[in-house]
């Protein structure tokens, strides 16, 4: 553990406690039994550990009906992503691979070693035959869903790869940004929802409301896009829409220039504001999940996302380095996911943090306040807080005369109290004056500097001491 981390946990003992609790007490809801697994499936789970840093654990705790299908879904999309990401593959090879990736899933023994040596997940494609072998064993209705999403995503990626304007200028409008995020994340949400509904782990209504599952993906993807500004910039990529950043700086890379700090902070807060519009959809979606392991699987990334937004909101470090929520806080979040109410409490907690960091100098100040208020109101709608029952009128209603009398009595009482205090303080001041206190000097000081609650440092300078 680094010194900085030690200091952090010294001030956040709750997070340290959460880390210990998670390590010691956490019982997975469901556990794989590797002894019964075929070698190809074991290899698939190894790949899952290798390729997904954050999702592997939650996927492996999914209920048995979904665990393997969701793992393979993840690996298929990871394979697709590894082809799309690799700039060493010429477009003539890349495009047909992307467009036909769903058909590859039927080709027994297919593997690919055309990735550049630097591509971090190239080994997955080198041994992709294990994924295909296992894919053939999952229920046919799962296969249909996974293939359908793979086809849509592959075609979307191919369109972007072909689109030179997108390659050169990045994302233009907020609409483009939403569409891009839909292809890379919203579609995953759609596919998962279909898997959940087909296994009866989620309410059917979620199928009709594909805007909700889309928001699930967008909320995560947009959070990552904001957080990874610096990393992407170093890779010469950028996903922040021009429509937003061009309001604040001339060139995309100017955001990283410390000279433009204020503009950059206003820009990141507008990016966060754009993400927050999906927050209510996320909570709404979670209300439709019926099974605990699926609920955890869906909710954990979302609470991590809202915590990340609270961390990166108006945080200038995002433009210089990779900012991450501390491990202890992540463990706290893992422990905080149990049911919708707990997730709502977590959302509210982070919404309040965003509200506290909001700054009136920001052109979107009031809009951010309203976005936070909207999430709070949504939560209030679903879980109304206990409100005091309407109080019965206190005693009989008073006539105006009685009311005036009552008021007079109260005022006389206050007058007595204030009067006594006045006499007492008068006596004390008189006593002080007799003892030689110089009120004249004190008054002069006040006249000179005004009665300020927080005198500036200058006023406290040595000459003040002389008079004391």
């Amino acid at each position: 553990m680094k010194t900085s981390e030690l200091i952090h946990y010294a001030f956040h003992p709750n997070q340290l406690r959460a880390m210990v609790q998670w390590k010691v007490w956490h019982n997975p809801l469901n556990q794989r039994d590797p002894t019964t697994e075929a070698p190809t499936l074991k290899r698939c789970f190894e790949f899952l550990d290798l390729t997904s840093r954050s999702f592997s654990a939650v996927i492996q705790e999914l209920c048995p009906e979904l665990c393997v299908s969701v793992s393979l879904f993840y690996l298929v999309l990871r394979g697709l992503d590894t082809i799309e990401d690799d700039m060493t593959i010429p477009i003539e090879t890349k495009e047909p691979l992307l467009r036909d990736f769903d058909k590859i899933l039927d080709k027994e023994g297919w593997k690919f070693n055309g990735n550049g040596p630097k591509e971090k997940d190239r080994q997955l494609l080198v041994e992709f035959d294990v994924v295909i072998a296992e894919f053939a064993k999952i229920p046919p209705e799962h296969q249909v869903i996974i293939k359908d999403i793979t086809r849509k995503m592959g075609n979307g990626m191919a369109d972007y790869a072909n689109n030179t304007a997108h390659q050169l200028n990045g994302v233009n409008t907020i609409e483009d940004y939403d569409l891009y995020c839909h292809y890379v994340a919203g579609l995953v949400g759609e596919g998962l929802t279909r898997l959940f509904v087909v296994t009866e782990k989620a309410n059917k209504i979620l199928l009709e409301r594909d805007d909700l599952s889309n928001s699930m993906g967008l909320f995560l993807q947009k959070t990552n896009i904001i957080r990874d500004y610096r990393e992407d910039l170093e890779d010469k990529r950028g996903f922040w829409p021009r429509e937003i950043w061009s309001k604040h700086v001339k060139e995309y890379k100017d955001l990283a220039d410390r000279k433009n700090e204020e503009a950059a902070l206003n820009c990141i807060s507008e990016m966060c504001l754009d993400s927050l519009r999906h927050a209510e959809d996320v909570l709404f979606y979670l209300a439709g999940i019926r099974e605990q392991s699926v609920f955890n699987f869906c909710a954990i990334p979302q609470v991590m996302a809202i915590a990340t937004i609270a961390l990166i909101f108006r945080n200038k470090d995002v433009f210089q380095r990779n900012v991450k929520i501390p491990k202890g806080e992540a463990c706290e979040l893992l422990l905080s996911v149990g049911n919708l109410r707990m997730v709502c409490d977590t959302f509210k907690k982070y919404i309040r943090i965003i509200h506290k960091k909001n700054n009136p100098k920001d052109p979107n100040y009031l809009r951010i306040s309203a976005a936070c208020g909207k999430v709070e109101q949504w939560i209030e709608n679903v879980f109304p807080r206990d409100q005091p029952a309407p109080r019965a009128p206190a005693g009989p209603q008073l006539s105006p005369e009685e009311e005036a009398l009552q008021k007079k009595e109260m005022m006389m009482l206050s007058a007595t109290i204030f009067g006594t205090m006045l006499v007492m303080s008068g006596l004390m001041i008189f006593g002080a004056w007799m003892a030689g206190a110089r009120f004249d000097l004190a008054f002069k000081e006040v006249a000179k500097h005004g009665l300020s609650l927080f005198p500036s440092r200058k006023d406290n300078a040595p000459q003040g001491h002389q008079e004391l």
């Binding site: 306040s369 208020g373 709070e376 209030e380 005091p388 309407p390 019965a392």
Partner: protein
């Protein structure tokens, strides 16, 4: 006589029914003149007339203006006879804090007079401006309140009490004499023509008191840009006309808009102190730091304010109620208006503030010019 200031064009709205002839009662007031302006903009073919106590302010061309007291039945009858409206929109509201007799006279007697006269004159649709405070008991938070909340047994003050009486009267009169009624409960109004909220918050700025905050500012508050409240009136009148356009009037059910009260806000509660800070930001002022008083201390200071006020025999400016009010939640659920009236704010809070502050600056400019002109004479 002064004309209303010029306004930028309104966002598009497709009427679901044509308004042919509308009388706006209180049409020179803060809310009323916005209603008039929007009828002109969304229903350019409608005949628009106004009945108000004073008609020398906020006038628009192509509108008939009639001066008159709404408690004077003969005068109201006369104006209705001249203008022959199919719809009456009654926006009259006295300032809260006026004496009890005035509140009763305007909110109860005035409402009854206009209501009964309209029925007698064969008016078809009657829209009445109510207040979200009709369900406010003045003792605790209002959290996500909707129209199912009851009127409090003991009203907070005579404004709320008389508004509730008026509202009940209007809603109970629904369908009597063939006239459909509904009421709109407004809250936290601001915008062009505002004499309370914007001037109040700009006054705090002028006095240099922007550093102070009472309470933790986690309390949410609903504010409403006046244009949106006015828009709700247009929608309500249109919806009543849609009902009337049926060959035979559909039976009254909970899903027909007549006889119903609707809460109208901007639909976006914000943290209380964020609102004044957003206003001051528009004036280029940002408090360098904030001095936060806990609520309890604020209440004690409020008591001090009341005490001084009592000693001096004046209405105190700083009271325990005002302190508590600024620390309370006060926001509403406007789903009923969204569903039944198809209401959706046309301007968000920030757009409303920009328009309101601009108007206020122009007003100051006009006042200065007038003073300069006087001095020149």
């Amino acid at each position: 006589m002064s004309a209303a200031p010029s306004y930028p064009p309104d966002p598009p709205h497709t009427p679901i029914a044509q308004l042919t002839s509308v009388l706006v009662v209180g049409g020179c007031g803060f809310l009323g003149h916005h209603v008039v302006r929007q009828i002109l903009s969304y229903h350019p073919t409608a005949r628009v007339s106004v009945l108000d106590l004073r008609i020398n302010v906020n006038q628009f061309p192509n509108v008939e203006y009639h001066a008159g007291d709404i408690t004077d039945r003969a005068r109201v009858d006369e104006v209705l006879r001249i203008t022959k409206p199919s719809a009456v929109i009654d926006t009259v509201s006295p300032i809260a804090g006026l004496p009890r007799e005035v509140q009763f006279k305007v909110n109860v007697e005035g409402t009854r007079t206009v209501l009964e006269a309209s029925q007698a004159a064969g008016v078809k649709a009657f829209v009445w401006t109510s207040s979200a405070s009709v369900c406010f008991d003045g003792r605790s938070d209002v959290i996500n309140q909707d129209e199912t909340a009851p009127y409090p047994e003991v009203p907070m003050d005579s404004y709320n009490e008389t508004k509730a009486i008026g509202e009940r009267m209007v809603l109970e009169a629904n369908r009597e004499g063939g006239m459909l009624t509904c009421a709109l409960r407004l809250s936290g109004l601001f915008g062009e023509g505002d004499r309370q909220m914007l001037p109040g918050m700009l006054g705090v700025l002028a006095r240099g008191q922007t550093k102070f905050q009472i309470g933790n500012n986690d309390n949410l508050f609903d504010f409403t840009y006046i244009g949106n409240s006015a828009y709700a009136h247009i929608l309500a009148a249109e919806h009543l006309h849609v009902l009337l356009s049926h060959s035979s009037l559909p039976p009254k059910t909970p899903s027909t808009v007549d006889g119903e009260a609707f809460l109208i806000t901007n639909g976006s509660p914000v943290y209380f102190w964020d609102m004044p800070r957003a206003i001051w930001a528009l004036k280029g002022h940002f408090a360098p730091y904030h001095i936060v008083f806990p609520k309890q201390l604020g209440v004690v200071m409020g008591a001090g304010g009341e005490f001084v006020g009592w000693l001096l025999g004046k209405e105190p400016g700083f009271t325990r109620f005002k302190v508590k009010f600024s620390c309370w939640n006060r926001y509403f659920c406007i789903d009923k208006a969204k569903k039944m009236l198809g209401y959706k704010p046309l301007w968000d809070l920030q757009e409303g503030l920009v328009r309101g502050v601009k108007w206020f600056e122009e007003e100051e400019q006009r006042a200065k010019e007038q003073q300069a002109a006087k001095k020149g004479q």
